[in-house]
Chain length 228, copies 2
């Protein structure tokens, strides 16, 4: 029996290690997607767009690990919460990988046009979204509820940046029709980054539930993020 | 023991019944959000925007049911796949509810302006997204893999409509700056509808995995949907 328990703990640690690897990969792809926009790097962009497979492979591997842990070990209480959280976090990280590709696709169209303006807020959003992802996963590994709660707060900053970008680009579009197409793609990029922040927020909420069995979702007359 | 088994089956059926109720609610809110846009119904829009709580309550209730089924009954194989699928489907349906609110928010801004054009493709997208949701959930209840596979095919139509809407509205924006703001909101609405289709697709993929233990995700050099 002790051997089974030890085996279970090893498998649970391997699961968390793989989730961290996936998080690192997702974060790296977001960083690279935003860098392709700011550096106008079309060569790197093609590499980025072709490189979705490793994260998709990890997604299926992690799902499989969760399923096997549930099926073979029938974990109780705290361990069960970790595995259910892992199932959800895995889904969120896979979507982050998709969003990095979506950013890359918008970047491909954006880079056909001359720059609309110097990009300041888009890289800020990118850095913030990456940090939120990293913090949410650190919170998962360390069972760190205050760190997870900090991620929820950072999401408001990300939303505010998205709104600011939208308003600024709208003024360009209204003044000069030649900016409509590239400005649209920058707006889409900012929205993809905001959604990455939403996924980091989901992870943080799962961590809080996992650690404290406290459901922080849908509190305070919760509505989805203001969609400006 | 038999009593425990029967109790488990009853609980599993109750879980599916609640998931269906949540799906119905999500679908109804998508329908109403699109109707508010096409009928320019600002009164109904306020009701819609204030009514997110029932779906959020169901989200937490269903999560709780899944967790208890896993913790108390330690299900194996097929039943385990149903419950893990339910955890994921629940998340997707909650996001659909959020997206209905996002559509409503964009509608609130859109209705401040005179109509850009008669809306034809947006209601078509709405109907298609609703049907995909309904079919995906029917496929879940009936364990109907062909129906789930049909949902995956319908998603391509939804993406094509989104691209068509984008291109058409772009021509309006380029010709007449006064259409930039309302056209942007129509583009956002079409993208929210496309994401609802993505969630229906996720549900369909979960159904296929649940029934056949076959993972159809990330097949054929899968990349995220073309992000035009």
């Amino acid at each position: 029996m002790e051997r089974v328990v030890r085996h279970f703990q090893e498998e649970l640690e391997a699961l968390q290690e793989r989730l961290l690897a996936m998080g690192g990969l997702a974060e790296e792809r977001v960083r690279e997607a935003v860098r392709c926009v700011t550096d106008r790097d079309r060569t790197a962009l093609e590499v980025l767009l072709a490189g979705d497979q490793p994260i998709n492979d990890l997604h299926m591997e992690i799902d499989d690990r969760c399923f096997k842990l549930l099926a073979l070990h029938q974990p109780m209480a705290a361990d069960l919460r970790v595995i259910v959280a892992a199932v959800k976090i895995n889904t969120d990280l896979e979507r982050v990988g998709d969003l990095a590709v979506n950013i890359g696709e918008a970047a491909g169209r954006y880079l056909v046009h001359p720059p609309v303006k110097p990009l300041i807020d888009i890289p800020r959003m990118g850095e913030l979204a990456q940090r939120m992802l990293r913090d949410a996963l650190d919170a998962f590994v360390r069972r760190d509820v205050p760190l997870a709660e900090a991620v929820l707060v950072e999401d408001d900053t990300l939303d505010a940046l998205k709104t600011q970008i939208f308003r600024e680009l709208l003024t360009y579009m209204l003044q000069d029709p030649s900016t409509v197409e590239p400005a649209l793609d920058l707006i889409l990029i900012s929205r993809h980054l905001e959604r990455i922040g939403d996924h980091a927020t989901n992870v943080a909420e799962d961590v809080i539930f996992m650690v404290s069995a406290r459901d922080v979702r849908h509190q305070g007359g919760d509505t989805p993020h203001d969609d400006t």
